[in-house]
Symmetry: C2
Subunit: 299 residues, 2 copies
């Protein structure tokens, strides 16, 4: 059985491929860049998922039995509202229907906690789905069609509602990457007041969750988080303390994004009970590991 | 200002183009067949809407200000559940975002009463949206993304939830076309018991409604029907009486489609109040006109 992973060069894709490569399974990954990361056991394929002909060729060549689709438009600061999300709805549905038509058996697709109506503190998978952002609308609509297509075709599909990943190699501009970058350079780090509560999940835990979901028989939507809420302030403080630069954090210098929810924490019962996953890395340890990664990289 | 109509050669497209061609506006229509119908004032363009490059060329060439998108997968008996619906989600979103990116100002897209959760007798636009069919899921998901994209871009978008069209030139296999075809040939016409109540709208009325919606400033979802419920039995009886072949109708010879709702009637307040549309053709007259059309055609 072969597995195809899209977004394999990304923040989550890289640690996930590392985990999956240990299984000895035939492992294929898609990249857009000229030079994909070297990783033993991974066969890389250059493919633009927005281009129909490229995807048709890829699926016809590989005929993958399993699919993990992580790729999406993720340009920081823009992806919440960008019209580019629409092209990724199209690309995701096309990829999935070609995968199914070629005999694919199980797919795990990356969704988001932004599918929920942001109106409560903790979200189970049955919470109302009224996305406030274009990103959330696009992911949720993709899920609606993808789930129906998979059910009708008798193909297993798991849809992950991912909460707040953080860790090494975050895309530039994301909170922790930019705070650590500023503090390491001795610059001020402007942040919000940081009172928002989020379910932060360390990227290695997230990768383990995806690998476990892929190997499970879970179908439908599943929250992927830790079940623990942490103030954004606490995350930033961990970084500042690890770098001993509390003095450079400028609380309240950045306004909260309009419409942002006060609290966003996953009910992870389904993930725990049906997949048997539990997170291993707490916020303090995760931030310290992330700081260590950046320090290593700066040498 | 130019208008682009997709599905222009279809059951609804043809009478709509005839209406719109009277306005003197620059009018473009898409067809897939080698020989589109001749119609004064309509410029035909051959384009496969499922092919990205074709659509990109079309929009770049025409730069339409207004769009009426009717084309979809409509193979009778199959379209309710067919995976082909997924490709039409992709095609519709691609067409809309290219139209918007090229400066389009107003779009009217064909949706369906199958977007609603079939659980009541009469549906206002705010009724719950839990589609029972792949067709309904696909249309509803398309709407969710399309509406958000249009709102964010400042483009007007009206989404028509079409109830039960009937009339001349119905696609083969649809109820009235097949009953009339059988009775005219002196064959038996097997039908269900016909107790289901539907909101039947004569195709010329439907075309007038679309033209009126295009010329209005209405945005969002709007039901398009008559507001009147008619038993399917009554529709078939009108046809049998017009052809004087009641003897050939086999009630109950066809089972009802599984999951089909007992009653499906539009609340047309929005269409009446905001668009000023009201239907002109009742069921008996509409069926008689349809029979007359088939008789004319059989000469």
């Amino acid at each position: 059985m072969s597995v195809l992973v899209t977004g394999g060069g990304g923040f989550l894709g890289a640690p996930l491929l590392e985990l999956l490569s240990a299984s000895g399974e035939e492992l294929h990954a898609v990249h857009k860049r000229p030079h994909p990361p070297q990783l033993a056991g991974v066969q890389w394929h250059r493919c633009d998922l927005l281009d129909a002909a490229s995807v048709e060729r890829l699926i016809a060549e590989l005929v993958p039995a399993r699919l993990v689709h992580l790729a999406w438009y993720v340009e920081h600061g823009k992806y919440w509202q960008a019209p580019e999300n629409v092209a990724w709805v199209e690309a995701t549905l096309r990829l999935l229907r070609l995968f199914i038509a070629a005999g694919g058996r199980r797919a795990v697709l990356a969704g988001t906690c932004a599918e929920y109506a942001w109106s409560r503190e903790r979200y189970s998978e049955t919470a109302p789905l009224v996305p406030a952002t274009m990103y959330g609308v696009a992911k949720n609509a993709t899920r609606e069609v993808a789930e129906r297509l998979a059910v009708d075709a008798g193909v297993e599909l798991a849809w992950t509602r991912v909460f707040m990943p953080y860790g090494p190699a975050e895309p530039p501009g994301r909170l922790l990457a930019s705070v650590i970058g500023a503090l390491m350079a001795g610059r001020e780090a402007p942040v919000t007041e940081g009172t928002q509560i989020r379910d932060f999940i360390y990227v290695d835990d997230l990768a383990r969750a995806f690998a476990a979901i892929l190997d499970s028989s879970l179908q439908g939507a599943v929250n992927v988080g830790t079940g623990e809420g942490t103030q954004i302030r606490a995350l930033v403080e961990c970084a500042a303390q690890a770098l001993d630069r509390d003095d450079l954090v400028r609380w309240g210098a950045v306004p909260q994004r309009e419409g942002e929810p006060a609290e966003l924490v996953a009910d992870v019962s389904r993930l725990a009970e049906e997949v048997g996953f539990s997170p291993a890395v707490g916020v303090r340890e995760g931030v310290e590991r992330t700081v260590a990664w950046w320090r290593e990289r700066a040498r």
